[in-house]
């Protein structure tokens, strides 16, 4: 224990030293401030920052509660009624894809002044990742247990509460850990829709005032809050103790194939249902057609060849950055998880950095990345990777610990090393979590690319959407939203196909 504590302290000092070194390398550039200046600024402005942090954290907390509650209900629903999964997953995916440019004005008009939009955006930032992680967890049940419940004549509800709920706890905790920094970020970004106070407001102010020390001071507070939440949830999972040993869940079986026509019919049905939800939701709140476009408006707009051409050109520019960014982010997340598993000492160095990158708005970190890596391919892909790797990292980290005890015992009795265990036992055990994170990274990568385009490259669909602010061209905005959603759904389906293929061999309980 004392050795571990020492290691943690050393790593924390290492992180601080890394920060200081980065600062000294870039001290003239006005994009980074050092830890000493930041600490001094925080002491001098403790009252201001404290009040702002309270506002933001409160909004983040409510968003965290509502978003995760929604995710838990959705996941439970889907596991009890597997036929609803298609609709639920795609609705969740499409709503997660909605960019702030489109949702900001709507939320502000619906909620008026106050914390409503901040809480909603924090909730929206967390529900999708928790939902996906939890569905995997609720399915991570040994076949024999479900069979036993059925033998006793119990229905899916008993199975849910008695068997699945318990099996899902480690996955739920992973989901909550991913959610904590996302909620803080969501609340901060929510303040961009017009808030009186909060960390997001202070960030904007500091950046425009060229006040680098304040910018990094606020970022450190946001990161510290997220880190505390992350660690607290981590402690919760340790409190649970080791729990029952993780078992081999299922022998591989060949998944039943769904006929093509049935899949096609389902796709059409889900699309129509989503369009109806869109139309009805906007009508129900009597949102003005000026900024809340309906499916019909988008259809009519896209009938013009000029509009279609603009949109498709921008889409192409976006996609050529998204794919490498997506792969890089995913590999970075999984790779870091493997490194941390092999070298537990690296955890204290990797973790603060990861949580910081996830909880601080990209407008704070992007200038540093752009300065270091440029606005070309390297810079853009790096920013995207940085924005999306965190969920993959956390999910894989938890997935790696889900290695069945029997398998570990076999490796131990043969005296296999850590690397051998990682490659042959832990990585296969991690696959369900990895694919869940690969699915959640799809919309995240698209959001990351569009943000990067707006901040650094000035191309693609992100720039097209940002133009709305000055042109009020909400037709173009909503058409772009539809196109981005379609791309997300397609990519999601592709990832899912790969997942089915792999998991039918390694984790058949996940494949329905």
């Amino acid at each position: 224990m004392s050795a571990r504590t020492l290691l943690a302290i050393l790593s924390a000092l290492g992180a601080l030293a890394l920060w200081q070194a980065l600062f000294m390398l870039n001290s003239d550039s006005l994009v980074i401030a050092g830890p000493v200046d930041v600490a001094r600024w925080l002491t001098a402005n403790a009252g201001l920052v404290g009040r702002a942090a309270r506002t933001t954290v409160l909004a983040a907390l409510w968003g965290f509660v509502w978003g995760n509650l929604a995710a838990i209900l959705m996941a439970a629903f889907v596991v009890v009624l597997p036929r609803t999964e298609r609709f639920m997953s795609f609705a969740a995916l499409v709503i997660f894809c909605l960019p702030l440019v489109a949702t900001g004005p709507i939320l502000r008009v619906l909620f008026g002044a106050g914390a409503g939009p901040q809480i909603t955006l924090a909730a929206l930032a967390v529900y999708f990742t928790t939902y996906l992680t939890l569905v995997v967890g609720l399915r991570a049940v040994p076949q024999a247990w479900s069979d036993l419940a059925r033998l006793y004549g119990r229905g899916p509800l008993t199975e849910l509460f008695v068997i699945r709920a318990r099996a899902s706890v480690p996955y739920l905790l992973a989901g909550l850990q991913i959610a904590a920094p996302a909620a803080v970020l969501g609340a901060m970004v929510g303040e961009f829709t017009g808030a009186e106070r909060g960390l997001g407001v202070l960030t904007l102010r500091a950046m425009r005032s060229l006040d680098v020390v304040a910018t990094w001071g606020i970022a450190s507070v946001a990161a510290a809050v997220s880190m505390l939440a992350y660690l607290a949830i981590g402690a919760l999972s340790r409190l649970r103790g080791q729990g029952p040993p993780v078992l081999i869940l299922s022998a591989g079986t060949q998944a039943a194939r769904v006929p093509v026509w049935e899949r096609a019919a389902m796709a059409v049905g889900v699309t129509i249902a989503l369009l109806l939800v869109w139309q009805i939701a906007m009508d129900a709140f009597a949102l003005s057609r000026f900024f809340a476009k309906r499916p019909g408006d988008v259809w009519a707009y896209l009938a013009e060849p000029a509009a279609r051409r603009t949109l498709l050109t921008a889409l192409w520019e976006t996609l050529i950055w998204t794919v490498p960014g997506y792969v890089a982010g995913l590999m970075l997340g999984a790779g870091l998880a493997a490194v941390v598993t092999l070298l537990p000492g690296a955890r204290a160095l990797v973790l603060p950095l990861s949580v910081t990158l996830r909880s601080v708005p990209i407008i704070t970190t992007a200038p540093l990345l752009v300065l270091a890596l440029g606005r070309g391919a390297t810079g853009t892909i790096s920013i995207v990777a940085v924005m999306i790797f965190f969920p993959a990292f956390v999910a894989c980290l938890h997935g790696l610990t889900q290695t069945p005890g029997q398998v570990r015992d076999v490796f131990a009795s043969y005296g296999a090393g850590r690397l051998r265990l990682l490659v042959s036992a832990q990585i296969p055990a991690m696959l369900p979590a990895f694919f869940a994170s690969a699915r959640m990274a799809v919309p995240a990568a698209l959001l990351a690319v569009t943000t990067t385009e707006w901040l650094a490259t000035g191309r693609g669909i992100g720039t097209l959407m940002a133009l709305t602010a000055s042109t009020s061209d909400y037709n173009m905005l909503w058409s772009a939203v539809v196109v981005v959603a379609l791309v997300a759904v397609t990519a999601y389906l592709l990832v899912e196909a790969a997942e089915r293929w792999v998991l039918s061999r390694y984790a058949a309980e996940q494949v329905r």
């Binding site: 904007l204 500091a206 003005s288 057609r289 900024f291 720039t463």
Partner: protein
């Protein structure tokens, strides 16, 4: 029989409500006089809206029978949707944004103009200055790509070939200029240059309004429907604004101090606010017959229409309606 209990309870509640209602009647007049209206600001609280804060604090709107809430703006808080939706009676937009929104079907009118001279400027460092539009050739300019039409209009007005300028997409931040990623920035003369000055960095500012770029900024927009149905409230709102901004014009330092005092959580710096207030003044109160707050002449409208055409915004004089401001001044 069970129905008796809820019935009694409901009646009791009814009586209670009636009593409270009676009490409220006595209080009513004082409250009812003040119609509640909202003004949608275009950005976070700052001295840029100090005239409104003065009107609030001095009770100028109260005198007009109005209770005004000032709704904050932000980077993802466009002004036009809440005004169209009616959550705000009036919004602070600009002639280019408003004409674009009109083209998209929003029924807006500009009823007053706070910044008669557009605040857009090219900021550069004295060692490599941009003092006139021709200096832009061969330079790297940092700006939001969304503002490309603005640069194009400036070039067209001054016979500069835009192809000779390298546009670098940047965040709205002076850092890229200071650390040499770009040679100049497209920004407001009243924010990033002030930030640099406060940090002790000298900069050169070329105001685009000095080179023919005529676009009314910080313009007050309302819907045609509001003009028809809520005219008195709009006039009252404008009258309070006029009084507040006259006070601002008389003492910008006091306006800055009030701004900082009213919003302790906004992270405002007094020196920055004072300097911004000082630089905003000549844009809002240029000399000549336009010096009355909010006023715009037919000539300036004509000049705006010309510049807007260069921005690919077809606007005509119907976008502007001065009659409400005239009523406000008629008092």
């Amino acid at each position: 029989m069970t129905s008796l209990i809820p019935l009694t309870r409901r009646r009791l509640l009814g009586v209670g409500a009636a009593t409270i209602g009676l009490g409220a009647v006595g209080l009513r007049p004082a409250v009812a006089q003040n119609a509640e209206v909202a003004l949608q600001l275009s950005w976070l609280h700052s001295v840029q809206f100090a005239g409104s804060y003065i009107a609030q604090q001095q009770g100028y709107w109260e005198n007009e029978g109005l209770k005004v809430s000032l709704n904050t703006g932000g980077p993802n808080a466009p002004v036009e949707p809440p005004v169209v939706a009616g959550t705000a009676l009036m919004g602070i937009s600009a002639a280019d944004y408003a004409s674009a929104a009109v083209a998209q079907g929003a029924p807006f009118r500009i009823v007053a103009v706070a910044m008669k001279r557009n605040p857009f400027a090219i900021a550069s460092l004295p060692a490599n200055p941009v003092q006139r539009p021709a200096d832009l050739v061969g330079k790297r300019i940092g700006m939001a790509v969304a503002n490309t039409p603005v640069l194009r209009a400036l070039c067209a007005l001054n016979d500069v070939d835009i192809a000779g300028i390298e546009i670098v997409p940047t965040q709205y931040d002076a850092a890229p200029l200071v650390n040499g990623q770009v040679d100049c920035l497209l920004c407001w003369a009243t924010d990033l240059p002030v930030a640099m000055a406060i940090q002790g960095i000298d900069s050169t500012t070329m105001l685009m309004a000095d080179y023919g770029y005529a676009v009314h900024s910080q313009a007050y927009i309302v819907t045609e429907d509001s003009i028809a149905n809520r005219r008195a409230e709009i006039v009252g709102l404008l009258r309070g604004e006029v009084q507040g901004w006259e006070d601002y014009n008389a003492d910008t330092a006091a306006a800055a101090a009030l701004t900082v005092a009213m919003f302790p959580d906004a992270g405002l710096d007094l020196a920055t606010q004072e300097e911004q207030a000082r630089r905003l003044r000549p844009l809002m109160f240029p000399y000549g017959d336009e010096t009355r707050f909010g006023w715009f002449t037919d000539d300036s409208v004509a000049a705006n229409i010309e510049t807007l055409a260069l921005l690919d915004r077809g606007a005509n004089a119907d976008l502007w309606d001065r009659s409400l401001l005239e009523e406000a001044y008629a008092g």
